[in-house]
Amino acid sequence: MKNWLETVESFVYESRIKVPYTWSVGEVGSRFLIELRDHKKIYGTRCPKCNRVYLPPKKTCGQCFSNLHEWVEVGPQGTLITYTLVHYESSVMPMKPPFAYGIILLDKASTGLVHLLDEVKFEDIKTGMKVEAVFKDERTGDIMDIRYFRPIRQ
């Protein structure tokens, strides 16, 4: 009798993992997102020990292991630390390629924020350039209430 391994057809089961989920953002996250939604303001929290201003805000400084209670309004202008031009497509991406991501150090913040860059010619994007946040008109309390960052026009 012929060995069944030589004749068996390989069968692939197609399915998906998809689970609706709700994440509590905590008290710090709530204040951050509500300020963004209601006042188009970006807030970080300052560590009383190392003075670092965290954006997105944190409740605890990982370096000093201290509680953060002081709120600091940061941006909406800042400096581009690094960037990339994306040329491939993925269904998780909010834009069709080509588009750009950057890490932005907002004025008065000590940590960088990853976000989209737009209203800019790709060849003009340079590390160190000054950028500013552009907000959505209809905001819902979401990091995407900031539509993107664009170069500051002189």
């Binding site: 993992i17 960037y83 993925s90 940590t111 960088g112 990091i143």
Partner: protein, 379 residues
């Protein structure tokens, strides 16, 4: 540290798509090979630690999918969600606890079964970063740009890593992408996310690996070719990309320092004969050689251009072809340890570095090398 050795290793060939094999099939192959290599049976294994990731596996308690294939029936089995180097570290500490003589460590992954961008997007914070659609490639591109801008590392230097590792892979029957390519081929390959191009990135792979750890008493009883664990170091940096300076790997520096101290190494480039590093992207190999102290910060490209990391250099890096030539996620770090073990035994075939006595294996976990684990193994 009590003396503990690697007494057996086994791995599958890494391939783009192992359509006919389940996770369990791959792990069974790797475990069987490791047991044969150690010349022991599953009855000689006291406990098992598996490595896998629930998102990549598309199921929770993903370790249990490979329990039978790891011979875990009636045994103590635990799981690490992370790279194989961290899985092996847990296996090592279980022996150090005094409760076990031998640990079987496995890792498996099938990148082919899902969509990598969707899975790696899920490693980011769901509130602040995930909605941006960031994934492993785009986040690494942000790191690459920052690193290259700060130190003037060029795309040509990165391309040379791809040329070297794909060439090395020709000597490795377990690698997936072995080829002769030129710097120009890399530079002209499709841009994924600047400055990362297709040939700067590791491929999607399926594969499994297993290693067997044993204490000194068990080594005396079982092993003909023990490779001793001389030092291990592990360190994590901040999770949020913006909280770190992505141009350097402080956590790797600390992990390396710990491992070197344990192993009594003061001059890594002189005392280590060969290194297997987690080069998910070309720029990473350059950054990691800096973090490991093989050269000064920003000089990773120069080290490579001097030929020091080539097969005949003073510190050959990735004779196996590295992750650029085969990258089964979570499995890749365990493969680095298995490759380092083969090098010390003199069993690495065509990819053998002649006379290698001390080898380094390295793995990463988290976005942009957030955590690093460094292993030093030797005779």
């Amino acid at each position: 540290m009590e003396k503990i050795a690697i007494i057996g290793i086994g791995m599958t060939k890494q391939e783009r798509r192992k359509e006919t094999e389940t996770f369990s099939d791959m792990v069974f192959e790797a475990v069987t090979k490791a047991l044969n290599d150690a010349e022991i049976t599953i009855q000689d294994i006291d406990n098992i630690v598996t490595g896998c990731n629930d998102f990549w596996d598309g199921r929770t308690i993903s370790s249990m999918a490979v329990g039978d294939a790891s011979g875990a029936w009636d045994k103590n089995i635990s799981c690490v969600e992370g790279d194989g180097t961290f899985v092996a570290l847990y296996g090592l500490t279980r022996i150090l606890s005094g409760s076990y003589r031998t640990t079987l460590v496995t890792a498996h992954s099938k990148g082919s079964e899902s969509i990598s961008s969707l899975i790696t997007n899920a490693m980011f914070d769901p509130i602040y970063t995930r909605p941006l659609g960031l994934d492993a490639i785009t986040s690494s591109a942000l790191q690459a740009r920052r690193y290259m801008d700060r130190y003037g590392v060029t795309e040509e230097q990165c391309a040379k890593v791809s040329v070297k590792n794909h060439k090395n892979a020709k000597n490795n029957p377990f690698a997936q992408l072995s080829m002769d390519i030129s710097v120009d081929d890399v530079l002209k390959s499709r841009i994924l996310a600047s400055p990362i191009k297709l040939l700067d990135a590791s491929p999607i792979s399926d594969g499994a690996c297993a290693i067997i750890l044993a204490n000194e008493k068990a080594v005396r009883r079982f092993s003909k070719h023990p490779v001793w664990i001389k030092g291990v170091g592990c360190c994590a940096d901040a999770y949020h990309l913006g909280d770190r300076d992505l141009s350097e790997s402080k956590s790797l520096e600390k992990a390396a320092k710990t491992a070197y101290q344990m192993a009594g190494i003061s001059s890594p480039i002189k005392e280590i004969d060969v290194a297997e590093l987690y080069d998910a992207f070309t720029y990473q190999e350059l950054m990691w050689t800096e973090g490991l102290g093989f050269c000064n910060k920003g000089d990773g490209g120069k080290l490579l251009e001097k030929g020091e990391t080539e097969m005949d250099g003073s510190i050959p890096v990735n004779p196996s072809g590295g992750c650029l030539s085969a990258h089964a996620v979570t499995t890749a770090g365990l493969i680095r340890i298995a490759e380092a073990t083969l090098q010390v035994r003199g069993d690495a075939g065509k990819r053998q570095i002649p006379g290698a006595e001390t080898a380094l294996a390295h793995g990463i976990n988290g976005p942009c090398g957030q955590s690093h684990c460094v292993w030093i193994v030797g005779k």
